[in-house]
């Protein structure tokens, strides 16, 4: 196997493993649109990174964190419904990112790569960023697991039982920001949310506990990565969309499986 393909596989598998449990929470907490908003703002982070002479990953984490905190504050106002607020931020951030990139005339960027991912071009450095960032995300998520699940089931009940709701929610938003930063190279900012929610949704049909669903979502994500990269390698398909397409096929199969075995 060529080395670039090994790097691509390792990076994509790393992201898929992280996306499983995190994406399960995104599904349970109905935060798909929130994920979209954060990932759309990632492009602005890329620009920021270049302007500051820092790594784009750092810029993405900074911008996504800022947007996440902004949204957390925005949830408290009652003037706009949260989907309107998310819609405004999501598309403004994406447009602002594209505009700011256009201003940087000296910079030649692979825009399609940012939007849809270019996992076949990852370096060993990128792979290590995926695994370090992924380990941090999974570590924090494991630590947050029970309180976050308690909040997801019933926020008031969790609060009365002593869960520091606000802090847990913000920590969760922050690890989503980190996940977006490390997943961008693999599927691109427009498709990150799908990598979070499709494997999780596919895993639902076969799960009886939250933990099962999280693990099965990771497995589904890894399968989608193998399928997608195989398609990309053999038929020269764009890697990001190819991975997401195979995840969607898995989801379809899970629906059929659910019918056949009437599980869950």
């Amino acid at each position: 196997m060529d080395e670039f393909l090994i790097r691509a596989l390792l990076a994509a598998i790393g992201v898929a493993v992280v996306a499983g449990p995190l994406g399960s929470f995104v599904v349970w907490r109905r935060m798909a649109y929130f994920g979209d908003t954060l990932s759309h703002s990632a492009l602005l982070g890329v620009t920021l990174g270049f302007l500051l002479g820092a790594d784009p990953t750092v810029g993405i984490i900074a911008v996504c964190t800022a947007v996440a905190l902004l949204l957390a504050l925005g949830e408290r106002q009652r003037v706009l419904a949260s989907d309107t607020l998310l819609g405004i931020l999501s598309h403004s951030a994406l447009s602002l990112g594209l505009v700011s990139l256009a201003f940087l005339e000296t910079l030649r960027v692979d825009l399609i790569g940012y939007l849809f991912g270019d996992v076949l071009a990852v370096t060993w450095e990128d792979v290590s960023v995926v695994y370090i960032g992924g380990a941090v995300v999974l570590g924090v998520l494991a630590w947050l697991w029970r309180p976050l699940l308690a909040i997801t089931v019933h926020e008031d009940l969790a609060r009365v039982e002593g869960v520091p709701v606000r802090r847990v929610q913000i920590a969760f938003m922050l690890i989503i920001a980190v996940t977006i930063a490390i997943a961008m190279k693999v599927v691109g900012i427009l498709l990150i949310t799908s990598l979070l929610i499709i494997p999780a949704a596919a895993a639902r049909a076969l799960s009886r506990t939250p933990e099962q669903m999280a693990v099965l979502a990771s497995i589904a994500g890894v399968l989608a990565v193998f399928g997608g990269l195989a398609g990309s390698f053999h038929w020269d398909l764009p890697s990001g969309p190819s991975i997401v397409t195979s995840a969607a096929v898995l989801f379809g199969l899970s629906l059929v499986g659910r019918r056949l075995f009437s599980i869950g």
Binding site: V27, W28, R146, V153, L157, V160, R208, P210, G264
Partner: protein
């Protein structure tokens, strides 16, 4: 097995209330939803908070639980008070696979032996591996009660626990709650919009309609003119005769209106 202590024995110990609030005022859109409200629950005492829909009962519970900040007034809880909370309803997303066992574990880790006892106490042992979404209304309420009891509470706070249950289900649940109180000598604060559901077990009724209308033993409250005005003759006349002395009555929004202009307020 430890002797079951009566609620009165608990009351006779000289100590302050488990939880107490004073002068609570909360406004929404300029209107006082809670207006200078005070309430207290003693150890082993069962207090029922009754009132019509929109009277601010749930809001008052949320203030006491620290979920909502009141604009005015104070809430004082005894140091180290353990509260078991049973929320009004539990709506679970269908995408969340959750068994009863896993749901109960979310409140904190409990030794297996104690968990088994509580499960048997509320009669849900056989449901332990069922998905939460597959439970009936009555079963869900029992599971919520179990989660509250697993915290070994000094005070149980319940928001319309019998809501949506038929008359047998209501009776069964109230029986479980009463037995749980006797066993633990814990205080109970319960919201209900029907006095007769909570009548048998209640030590003290607080009738709320934005402000405290009346308070006392269920039979006293039932005969209280402001209770009669709020709930109507039919509801009130279930028990003893009442004396129809209005000092004030309530309009449709709960405001106090001149008794002379009021069309009895009974539907």
């Amino acid at each position: 097995m430890a002797a079951i202590t009566s609620p009165l024995a608990g009351n006779s110990v000289v100590e302050g209330p488990l939880i107490e609030c004073r002068g609570i005022t909360v406004r929404r859109g300029g209107e006082a939803v809670l207006d200078n409200v005070e309430i207290a629950v003693l150890a082993g005492e069962m207090v029922s908070l009754i009132g019509p829909n929109g009277a601010g009962k749930t809001l008052l519970l949320r203030v006491l639980l620290g979920l909502v900040k009141a604009e005015q007034g104070t809430v004082e809880a005894r140091a180290g008070l353990r509260i078991g909370y049973m929320p009004q309803q539990l709506v679970l997303d269908a995408t969340l696979p959750l068994t009863v066992r896993r749901f109960l574990s979310l409140g904190g880790l409990v030794p297996a032996g104690q968990r088994r006892e509580v499960l048997e106490e509320v009669g849900i042992s056989r449901l332990i591996d069922r998905p939460m979404q597959a439970l009936s209304g009555g079963e869900t309420q029992r599971v919520l009660l179990a989660r509250a009891l697993l915290r070994n509470p000094d005070l149980l706070v319940m928001d319309e626990p019998a809501q949506g249950l038929d008359i047998y289900g209501q009776g069964e649940l109230m029986g479980l709650i009463e037995a749980a109180r006797k066993r633990r000598n814990c205080g109970i604060l319960m919201v209900s919009h029907d006095l007769h559901v909570v009548m048998a077990a209640t030590d003290r009724v607080v009738c709320l309609n934005h402000h405290i209308c009346c308070t006392g033993h269920p039979t006293e409250v039932e005969a209280d003119p402001s209770y009669v005005a709020l709930f109507g003759k039919r509801a009130a006349s279930h028990l003893a005769a009442y004396h129809h002395h209005h000092d004030h009555v309530h309009g449709i929004a709960g405001e106090v209106v001149d008794a002379g202009n009021h069309q009895s307020g009974i539907q």
